[in-house]
């Protein structure tokens, strides 16, 4: 077994992992960084983000407004000190990306342009047409190439964390091409593996978004926080779930039902705004949780369109005209044409809500440190406390820049004060991990992986979807427990070493099942409705007395997780009613 000593190991080379790596390379040049990713960095799912990144730049805007939008958008489940740090640093970190070459869309005078986004009171979303994530990721990857202290381990799959003396001391990774494991001995580790959207059947996520980091930390006793909060993006393509950015609505796109009616006005988001004149926090610029819920309501009323690819409503961009669509939303046009055969210049796009984002994740403090000494977590796999019960669109791309930088700094500071421990005990641990992995490879059961995966995705949609009730959540929990048992008996046909993707899918399925379990159990325990966790049984309202709290799911091997709660940090915004549309204006007065 190859043993590689480094100072900081980063697992995941998407936006946040790369940002952290560059932070360390630039400001702690004496430290070595191992940047580990199961794919080449530019394949990471940051690449698929479209709309943009929030950061206050306009004179009419303020940090307080960004703070208020984020906290109310998160239904007061945000850590307010974290939100404060975030809004103060967002524009600065987006500027940093600009200095590194990110081609943000500009105004005619050469300054940064910003667009409107859901739940945001002012235009503050920096964008690079509708490929913001793509440009951020490529900018960061290319900038990372400047730094020889960053050693990349591309296409290396993380098998487990090595914990000794209650500290993280390294990770065991599998070289996918070789089929051989390596021990990376590190003083600190940053988890930056992204979300877990693939636990659901219909999602906007890439195939690699399988909750690896969440599950790894969770299995080592770190809590997964607020996992019940799953964001459905209101506008995914039917069938595939491919994302149609919120930027479509930010630019003036509207949602209509089968009668051509802008139904959002019936659900507290009105009054109807004139076509082509989007108004912040009104109608189509409401928050994602609410707009996705409106779809479900319309579906109940029979107002949706039933097509070959299932029930849809229409996202209508036609009034924007060809020139604006080509300038601001060229990728959307390309995607709609290719995947549903619709040119948005001439026809409305069929859309439906699809799973998009996990608000929860590995619990960290305000400075990205987890409860496991030496382990930090950032980005979608982490719950630093920014998004609360519902994330506002465009806050997560800024999050990866702000907290990627912070985690880099924190992990570097920690590594500087720490010495490498003896390698021998770590090596023994690593051998055990490898033995366990080989046992999985050699499993010769009869259960088909594809079936387990499909049943998991379907039961998650069923039980912990847009609206939830006790009975169906319980059913999901039971199904997941059964699937975990069946997972013990899966069949892996391919026993080879070189680029064995069947084996990787099997490990990922294990990660997915654990993450799914944390989601379902956190959901059933939250006996209230808040943000994206909406129940239509007796717990259909928010209950601040009992549940103004973060949920914490703790892993129990072969048993249901234990759910605990922790307090929410509230600095200056006391919980209030969460209102959009006309009501938000009344409230302000």
């Amino acid at each position: 077994m190859q043993i590689i000593k480094t100072d900081v190991a980063i697992i995941g080379a998407g936006g946040s992992g790369l940002r952290a790596a560059i932070e360390i390379a630039e400001n702690y040049p004496q430290l070595n960084v191992a940047l580990i990713s199961k794919v080449y960095p530019m394949r990471s799912h940051t690449v698929a983000a479209e709309g943009g990144a929030a950061g206050v730049v306009q004179d009419s805007d303020s940090l307080d407004q960004h703070f208020d939008d984020t906290v109310s958008g998160g239904d007061w489940l945000c850590e307010q000190d974290v939100v404060q740090y975030f809004v103060e640093n967002a524009a600065k970190q987006l500027t940093q990306l600009e200095h590194w070459g990110c081609p943000w869309s500009r105004k005619a005078d050469g300054n940064i342009n910003v667009r409107a986004f859901g739940g945001m009171k002012k235009e503050r979303t920096w964008f690079a047409a509708d490929k913001s994530g793509f440009h951020i990721l490529h900018t960061l990857f290319q900038t990372s190439l400047k730094h020889p202290k960053i050693t990349r381990f591309d296409e290396h799959f993380c098998l487990d964390l090595v914990v000794e003396d209650n500290k993280i001391q390294g990770v065991v990774i599998l070289d996918i091409a070789e089929g051989e494991a390596k021990l990376i001995q590190a003083k600190s580790v940053i988890m930056a593996t992204g979300g877990a959207g693939r636990v659901y059947t219909y999602n906007t996520n890439g195939g690699i978004v399988t909750g690896d980091g969440m599950s790894l930390a969770y299995r080592h006793g770190v809590a997964l926080r607020d996992m019940e909060f799953i964001q459905y993006h209101p506008t995914g393509l039917p069938g595939s779930g491919i994302l149609m950015t919120e930027g479509c609505r930010g630019e003036g796109g509207v949602l209509i039902n089968k009668n051509g009616y802008r139904y959002l006005q019936d659900y507290g988001l009105g009054p109807e705004t004139p076509l082509g004149q989007p108004k912040n926090k009104h109608m189509e610029l409401g928050p994602r949780d609410k707009i996705s819920q409106c779809f479900w309501q319309e579906q109940q009323k029979g107002n949706v369109i039933t097509g070959d690819r299932g029930d849809v409503v229409y996202l209508d961009l036609r009034h924007l005209g060809k020139a604006k669509i080509n300038e601001r939303l060229p990728f959307i046009r390309e995607l709609a044409k290719a995947y549903v055969g619709v040119d948005p210049v001439h026809e409305p796009i069929p859309v439906r809500p699809t799973v998009h984002y996990t608000m929860g994740g590995i619990a960290t403090d305000a400075k990205t440190a987890t409860s496991l000494t030496g382990l930090y977590a950032i980005g979608e796999c982490a719950s630093v406390g920014l998004h609360g019960a519902n994330r506002l669109g465009s806050n997560s791309l800024s999050e990866l820049a702000v907290f990627g930088q912070l985690a880099g700094q924190q992990a570097a500071e920690y590594a500087q004060q720490t010495e490498h421990q003896a390698t021998q005990p770590l090596q023994e641990k690593a051998q055990k991990i490898i033995a366990r992995t080989e046992a999985l490879l050699n499993s010769n059961g009869s259960e088909k992986m594809a079936d387990i995966r499909q049943e998991m995705g379907d039961c998650m949609e069923e039980g912990v979807g847009i609206y939830r009730i006790q009975a169906s959540m319980q059913k999901t929990i039971d199904t997941l427990a059964e699937l975990k048992v069946r997972y013990q008996h899966i069949k892996i046909n391919d026993k080879s070493s070189v680029f064995n993707t069947e084996f990787l899918y099997a490990i990922e399925l294990g990660y997915l099942l654990d993450t799914a379990e944390a989601i379902a159990h956190s959901a059933i325990a939250r006996q209230e409705s808040r943000g994206s966790h909406q129940r239509i049984d007796e717990f259909n309202t928010r209950n601040d007395v009992h549940f103004l709290k973060h949920s914490l799911a703790y892993y129990q091997a072969d048993k249901a997780p234990i759910i605990k709660y922790s307090d929410v940090t509230i600095t200056r915004s006391q919980p209030a009613e969460r209102v959009y549309g006309a009501a938000s204006e009344t409230k302000e007065k």
Binding site: K38, V39, Y40, M42, R43, S44, V47, A48, T95, Q96, E98, H99, W100, G101, P103, R106, D109, G110, N111, I112, K131, F134, H138, Q142, T143, L145, K146, R198, T201, Y202, G206, G207, I208, T210, S240, G241, I242, L243, D308, R309, L335, A338, M449, A450, R453, Q454, I492, N493, S496, S497, V498, F499, N500, T501, E502, L504, Y505, E508, L509, L512
Partner: protein, 257 residues
């Protein structure tokens, strides 16, 4: 990397399409061989989804890379009927009822099945200094962003759209014949930075451009731009760099040492 819901349920049962994959399993095979599969045909189904169907239901050992399935991550490049394509952006409806043949991207060594060895391609991207080299010191964050007008952006915008899928390398016979050629995507990326108003690193990068294996290995076949799924037009980037390189040469002739 788990596969998504397949079209198995939706497929029109009586229609099938034949997919032939050039298999290569290094631990078992001396050389690649074709293997045929019959799968249920659905017009919406992409080549990638066809592969997922095969892996989930017919032969779990078939290996391929994929992730986003929306033509932006650049993972799933392969040869479809001998033409480089993204698997997620090529659809069965464009081939049915004919057989579809799939092969790993040309001009790259085959690691296994449809997976190629990308090392040389990645190395080339790394070598062309694809990052802003500022004029003097790095600009301070408190000074705010650089000014860059939409016109200035337009100069490099197209060349910044590359998703690193490698299709252009597999379309380039010059790269096929001589692997030392820097190649289309890397040169387009180089042009992207040279043409960015924030960058002052042109002189450094022109050393790479001017080499024999820089732009001058290109004979302007132009197929790279045809197969590019993102409209990057690497052939144009290279021709523009040839103009720059010629200027460098001429100036060099008249400049005293």
């Amino acid at each position: 990397m788990s596969t998504q819901a397949t079209h198995a349920q939706q497929a029109v049962v009586d229609k099938v399409i034949e997919i032939e994959i050039l298999r290569y399993r290094p631990e078992q095979d001396e050389k690649p061989f074709p293997q045929g599969f019959e799968i249920p045909y659905h017009p919406d189904m992409s080549i990638l989804e066809a592969l997922q169907y095969i892996k989930d239901h017919l032969d779990s050992s078939v290996s391929f890379r994929w992730s986003c399935r929306m033509a932006i991550c650049g993972s799933c490049g392969l040869m479809v009927n001998n033409i480089p394509k993204l698997g997620c952006k090529a659809f069965l409806r464009d081939y049915y009822p004919q057989k579809v043949t799939l092969e790993a991207l040309a001009n790259f060594p085959i690691e296994r099945d449809l997976v190629v060895v990308m090392d040389d391609f990645i190395k080339k991207l790394e070598e062309i200094k694809p990052y802003i080299i500022p004029e003097r010191d790095e600009k301070c964050l408190s000074e705010g962003t650089y000014q860059q007008t939409p016109e200035q952006m337009e100069k490099y915008a197209k060349f910044s759209m590359c998703i690193n899928c490698g299709l252009c390398y597999s379309a380039c016979p010059q790269y096929g014949l001589d692997k030392s050629f820097t190649g289309p995507a890397a040169l387009a990326l180089l042009a992207r930075y040279n043409r960015d108003s924030r960058d002052a690193g042109s002189a450094e990068r022109m050393k790479i451009v001017n080499q024999e294996q820089g732009v001058w290995s290109c004979t302007f076949v132009g197929y790279c731009s045809v197969v590019c799924p993102k409209g990057v037009d690497p052939a144009a980037a290279i021709q523009l760099l040839k103009v720059e390189s010629s200027k460098d040469y001429l100036i060099g002739m008249f400049k005293p040492d």
